[in-house]
């Protein structure tokens, strides 16, 4: 029996591979090995914000058992975590802390925005104290909709994340190219956040109804 082809892109037919394996040689790509190891041991941060956190905890318990996917090691400290599940409503008072915790996480790091609130403010979007999506300050890898998402959905979002990890390329990996990614921490002024978003990671969507200035005035 031969192992599955772990080196897509390397031109090697199955017989040669089998022969090499018998001799104790495995041909693979560093990328593949790296991503395989990373994707199978994503350690999430123990980080609950609101209602969605309860479903995140539920996904770690025996019925759903996130450890089947290698992510049962919830770490309370950002220094040991790879994945931040932003599970719940991010208020304006809390947003600076969320960014700060993200900054403290070492590379490689990923973010899942769990629940309508973390994606866009959700049911509380109209409120004066709710941030309309955490992606205004930190880059989000997987958006997980729901209010709250079911634990199965948490598992699926983890699978999507693993799929994304599988396509990563060491040459462009921020861990090697830029080091630990850090984003400016917004300041809570008592009424609002300053700045309202980080232009590096988020831009307000273009208004489809906007007309060019000349046309509007003509």
């Amino acid at each position: 029996m031969t192992t599955p082809n772990t080196s897509p892109g390397i031109d090697l037919d199955d017989t040669t591979r089998a022969e090499l394996e018998r001799a104790g040689v495995i041909v693979s790509k560093v990328d593949y090995l790296y991503n395989w190891a990373r994707g199978g041991s994503v350690w999430p941060l123990t980080f609950g914000l609101a209602c969605c956190a309860i479903e995140m905890i539920a996904s770690a318990t025996s019925r759903f058992d996130i450890s089947r996917f290698g992510s049962e090691v919830f770490r309370p400290t950002p220094r040991q975590a790879d994945l931040m599940i932003v599970s719940g409503t991010v208020t304006k008072k809390m947003a600076p802390q969320v960014v700060r915790i993200y900054n403290q996480m070492p590379e490689p790091k990923w973010v899942i925005a769990m629940g309508a609130c973390a994606i866009s403010g959700g049911p509380f979007k109209q409120g004066y104290n709710v941030l309309k999506g955490i992606d205004r300050y930190i880059p989000v890898d997987v958006y997980l909709p729901g209010c709250p998402p079911r634990p199965e959905a948490v598992l699926q979002s983890l699978n999507y994340l693993q799929e994304k990890i599988r396509t990563q390329d060491i040459k462009s990996d921020p861990a090697f190219t830029v080091g630990r990614r850090q984003y400016p921490v917004p300041e809570f002024t008592g009424t609002d956040l300053e700045p309202p978003y980080n232009p590096e990671v988020w831009q307000p969507p273009a208004n489809p109804n906007a007309q060019p200035l000349e046309e509007a005035t003509a």
Partner: protein
């Protein structure tokens, strides 16, 4: 307004036994695994002893009240789910009770029974998870919490079959319930209720006389009956301090006057963490008793009364309160004749129970502050609203 971690540690030198030691100020939270959400305590420590404690709120302030004042009465119902997100059914009920006082409305018999069934199941979910988290805070990582969540899932399945959602049920309506339970649901509920005592036996055997739990919780976080009453503490926390006060007995809202049940409370005038833990364990037994009676008494019939299509009450005030698993949950509404409430106010039990945190923690070890907080049973969605 102070920013979270902007305050530098503040060392004040004090003399003890000829040594210079310092008072250490640490900020626990808002991201701390033991704060059950985004709550922050600024603790001042002398060695390991807590000499001062300031709670800091507002990290989950989601403008519930303001949002509710800008929408019709019924649209607030799903928002009440998200107040205390463990207990969406009881939140719904308290709000429905308040709104039902504003208009004349008849609640069908079957709906009343189902309301009791749902809210007692919710109480089981809350207490069983609370005990799991509480023991988790004591250092028993995993096992008791996993047991608790295993039981919780069984009840959540029932909720899902009835309302379509696991956590945010949005099941109650003014004048009854949104829909009847599906066929066979009552049998399944009976099965879950019948099996629950077996689990409780196991849980009690595991925890109640556990050496570590006894030594870490007995005599820790004392709350006197006097202080509890004057601070407005309600729910299991008040009962653990020796006052047998339960709104199910006092108000007899719904049809609670038809059921036989006892209100567990601790003897003596002071309650500690162990009392609070035990009161909840005993309450679960009583809830099972109520559930059994309700499941036997329920009969067929409609579940939604003659609720008006447009809910537009005359100017009036109403206060509806229930015995939520965490204490007295009340909704205060002022109607001004429009389809929106003029004022919508929530009386959150866990916020008011939290006000005695400082009194309970002073003089205790910092590790005990964590379990004292755990024994209060807070949910930040409700504390900050």
């Amino acid at each position: 307004m102070s920013n979270a971690t902007a305050t530098a540690p503040n060392y004040e030198l004090i003399q003890r036994d000829g040594l210079d030691t310092g008072l250490l100020e640490i900020s626990m939270g808002p991201h701390h695994p033991s704060t059950h959400g985004v709550f922050r305590m600024d603790v001042k420590l002398d060695g390991e002893t807590v000499v001062d404690l300031q709670p800091v709120f507002g990290y989950l302030h989601r403008n519930h009240e303001k949002l509710a004042e800008n929408m019709s009465y019924l649209s607030s119902m799903p928002f009440t789910d998200r107040l205390d997100y463990f207990n969406s059914m009881t939140n719904n009920w308290a709000y429905a009770l308040a709104a039902e006082q504003l208009i004349e409305i008849e609640i069908p018999e079957r709906a009343e029974y189902l309301r009791v069934i749902m809210s007692e199941l919710t109480r089981l979910v809350n207490h069983v998870s609370l005990v799991g988290f509480f023991v988790n805070d004591l250092g028993a990582l995993g096992t008791p919490l996993l047991y608790a969540f295993r039981e919780r899932e069984k009840i959540l399945d029932l909720f899902e079959q009835a309302s379509g959602a696991r956590m945010m049920c949005n099941y109650f309506r003014f004048g009854g319930l949104r829909n009847d339970v599906p066929e066979g649901w009552l049998d399944r509920a009976r099965e879950v209720v019948d099996r629950f005592p077996k689990f409780l036996d196991e849980y009690e055997k595991l925890l109640c006389e556990n050496e570590i739990i006894l030594s870490r919780t007995q005599g820790v976080g004392n709350l006197s009956k006097e202080l509890a009453i004057s601070a407005g503490i309600t729910g299991p926390m008040l009962r653990a301090s020796g006052e047998s006060y339960d709104i199910r007995k006092v108000d007899r809202y719904g049809i609670y006057d038809r059921f036989q049940f006892r209100v567990p409370y601790s003897e003596g005038d002071v309650g500690d963490c162990y009392d609070r833990f035990m009161v909840r364990m005993l309450e679960m037994r009583e809830s099972i008793g109520i559930l059994k009676q309700a499941l036997d008494g329920i009969e067929d019939g409609p579940v939604l009364g003659n609720a008006p299509k447009v809910f537009k009450p005359k100017p009036a005030e109403a206060y509806g309160r229930i015995e939520a698993p965490k204490g007295e949950l009340g909704f205060y509404l002022i109607a001004d004749g429009t389809p929106k409430p003029y004022r919508f106010r929530v009386r959150p039990p866990s916020f008011i129970n939290l006000t005695v945190l400082r009194d309970m923690c002073l003089g205790q070890k910092v590790a005990d502050a964590v379990i004292i907080l755990g024994s209060i049973d807070i949910v930040l969605g409700e504390v900050d609203r």
